[in-house]
């Protein structure tokens, strides 16, 4: 079992009020699974993703990653987990605009203490893997949206994580780029990478082998009957 979240509650505590966001969320993900999480805006998708990504801690509940309880770890160890076990892909790419694609991809390896020669070698391999071998020295401004997201995926995968977390990876892409990206995800998944992806779009979610719904902070597993209903509706709406 890669991911094991049990009875997770998350409240945001602001000076004025306490905002409850997640309620009793339980999510188990097996090695090699491809899970999509769908839900309306403000339902708590990103909040859940941040907890899975070891960027935030739940108010209540337990979380085991690769069999290890991550909640009793300190910030330093959390950073190490993010560095070595997780790959992140964001809706808005989050590339460093002043650096080349190659440098962007090599960035996690800098923090992993990999030597420069090795960094370049591995970053080149990762870029080649996403089909950008002839765009290595381009800066993000010189790349299309789809290419930027590929660079981001190369960066997420460069340190060979077993779990890829993607928060609305196609949110800023047109449908053609989205399809291409989903093919890439599928390939990665076939290579054994576990993927947890957040999306608004049902046609994107349909690439995943398993879909969860989140509504007002409550996570529910989607049954096959739901799936049929959505496909019947032409993949539009929820």
């Amino acid at each position: 079992m890669v991911l094991k979240l049990d009875h997770i509650d998350k409240d945001y505590i602001t000076p004025k009020l306490i905002v409850p966001v997640l309620h009793d969320v339980t999510l188990h993900v097996e090695e090699g699974e491809y899970v999509a999480i769908m839900g309306p805006s403000g339902s708590g998708k990103s909040t859940l993703m941040n907890i899975i990504g070891c960027l935030d801690r739940p108010t209540k509940g337990t979380y085991e990653l690769n069999g290890e309880n991550v909640l009793n770890k300190n910030d330093r160890d959390m950073a190490a987990i993010r560095l070595n076990n997780l790959g992140f892909v964001f809706q808005n790419f989050q590339l460093l605009s002043r650096q080349s694609a190659l440098d962007n991809v090599a960035l996690p390896l800098v923090y992993a203490g990999v030597r420069k020669r090795e960094r370049i070698k591995r970053a080149k391999a990762a870029l080649t893997r996403v089909g950008l071998q002839d765009r290595m020295s381009f800066t993000p401004a010189q790349l299309s949206g789809g290419q930027k997201q590929r660079v981001a995926i190369a960066r997420a995968m460069v340190n060979n994580p077993r779990l890829l977390l993607a928060d609305e990876p196609t949110g800023a892409l047109d449908s053609r780029s989205s399809t291409a990206l989903m093919q890439l995800f599928e390939e990665l998944n076939q290579e054994g990478v576990t993927i947890v992806m957040i999306t608004h779009a049902p046609e994107i979610a349909s690439y995943a082998k398993r879909v969860c719904n989140i509504f007002d902070g409550v996570l529910t597993e989607r049954t096959d009957s739901d799936r049929t209903r959505i496909e019947a509706a032409g993949g539009k709406g929820l």
Binding site: G53, I81, F88, Y111
Partner: protein, 418 residues
């Protein structure tokens, strides 16, 4: 670390104008300190050179009255009770363990009675010297010859002039064989000498000091034995001793003065021997220059402080601007310390660069000062290195707050911001 430095240069380069303006405070501060230190260094070098170079460790022990050199103009100004220096006294001085050589000489400040052709000469010094004088005081022959034993034995009326006198009197014409009349006696110029360890004084006080010691228009040297023929009297003499080392100069001079003063028979004489204290003069001058320049350095230090605050300010802006970058880096696994180091390095590189530019412009500035005011300047490399290290320190100190702010950013917050 290297990666951080590379990033820092990239960041500085991508905001050239801003970086430069940020560095400006540091540049100005460091430049003024370097310029000040350079002039101190120049002054100190000059004074040291003056001491070691010109004197060749020689100390004048001369007759003084009320702290001033006592000058004999004519027979009426000869002080009473001060004997000619005997061979015995000379040997006693030579026996001092910090004295290497000793020579005594007569000296007069000429106001009248000296003629070249029909021109009356004034403001020249006339020295009556022995065979050791030139060697002790480090004069070298330029043209002609030095005094011979026969000049002394036969009371010859020959003179040697120094370079200054030669220039002033003969204006480039060959001085050898010319006749100068001193108290109705014709003297033939047989040689020209110059101070072998010459030094062009640039500092006003030292300049004055040297002028005072050597006579403004130049010196005529005659054999000591010829002196009484011209001036009729045996006169009190001055002494030059050569100390065994620069450090011994003050002591050698003082001991010689004591011995000489013991020989004075008129115990109430207001005219006594005293040694010039070159070391003391130089030290006093150095201290004076250093003290006044220290104040300037404090003022320049304030400009560095202001520069440091400027760096802090820009760094804070930069952290805010780069919230996304910081958030992303933390999200993909950068430790707090990695972010802290990145920003500290950036601040340190920025201010070090400012320091280097400051040293450069400081050196340039001191050259300009030298060009326009003639003040001597010297590059003080240790000070330059300290200045660069110090500016690096400023970057670290003032970059600490912004860097901590950056490293403490919550990655979720940082990534959420668009």
């Amino acid at each position: 670390m290297i990666e951080n430095i590379r990033l820092a240069f990239q960041g500085i380069w991508s905001h050239k104008m801003r970086s430069f303006l940020t560095m400006l405070g540091i540049i100005i501060g460091i430049a003024s300190i370097i310029a000040i230190v350079s002039t101190i260094q120049g002054t100190n070098n000059a004074l040291k050179e003056q001491l070691v170079g010109s004197g060749n460790n020689t100390v004048n022990v001369s007759l003084t009255q009320g702290g001033e050199d006592y000058q004999i103009y004519d027979s009426s100004s000869i002080p009473s009770g001060i004997p000619v220096i005997s061979e015995d006294t000379r040997q006693r001085i030579l026996a001092l363990d910090n004295v290497e050589k000793v020579t005594s000489y007569n000296i007069r400040f000429v106001s009248e009675g000296v003629y070249y052709r029909d021109q009356s000469l004034s403001e020249f010094n006339i020295y009556g010297i022995d065979m050791d004088y030139f060697d002790t005081v480090s004069y070298s022959l330029k043209t002609g010859r030095e005094f011979l034993q026969e000049d002394f034995d036969e009371y010859r009326r020959v003179i040697i002039v120094d370079q200054t006198a030669s220039d002033n009197l003969f204006q480039g014409a060959n001085p050898l064989g010319r006749t100068v009349e001193i108290n109705n006696q014709p003297f033939t110029v047989v040689g020209v000498v110059y101070k072998s360890s010459t030094y062009e004084p640039n500092i006003e006080n030292v300049d004055d000091y040297l002028t005072n010691a050597s006579g403004s228009n130049g010196i005529f040297f005659m054999p000591k034995k010829t002196w009484p023929i011209v001036f009729q009297y045996d006169e009190p003499e001055n002494v030059v001793v050569k100390a065994t080392s620069t450090e011994e100069m003050t002591k050698a001079g003082q001991k010689t003065a004591t011995i000489l003063n013991e020989t004075i028979t008129n115990k109430n004489s207001s005219v006594t021997y005293s040694a010039e204290d070159l070391l003391g003069i130089v030290k006093k001058q150095q201290d004076l220059a250093n003290a006044s320049n220290m104040q300037l350095i404090w003022i320049a230090g304030i400009s560095l402080l202001v520069g440091g605050i400027g760096v802090m300010n820009i760094m804070l802006v930069s952290v805010t601007e780069r919230t996304n970058e910081i958030g992303l880096k933390k999200a993909i696994g950068a430790r707090k310390s990695a972010i802290l180091w990145q920003f500290l390095t950036e601040a340190a590189v920025l201010t070090s660069l400012g320091g280097i530019l400051g040293v450069g412009s400081g050196i340039a500035m001191s050259q300009v000062i030298h060009r326009f005011t003639g003040i001597l300047v010297g590059i003080n490399w240790p000070a330059a290195i300290i200045a660069v290290l110090f500016s690096m320190g400023i970057g670290i100190v003032f970059g600490l707050l912004p860097s901590m702010q950056a490293s403490n950013l919550d990655p979720i917050e940082a990534l959420r911001r668009e």
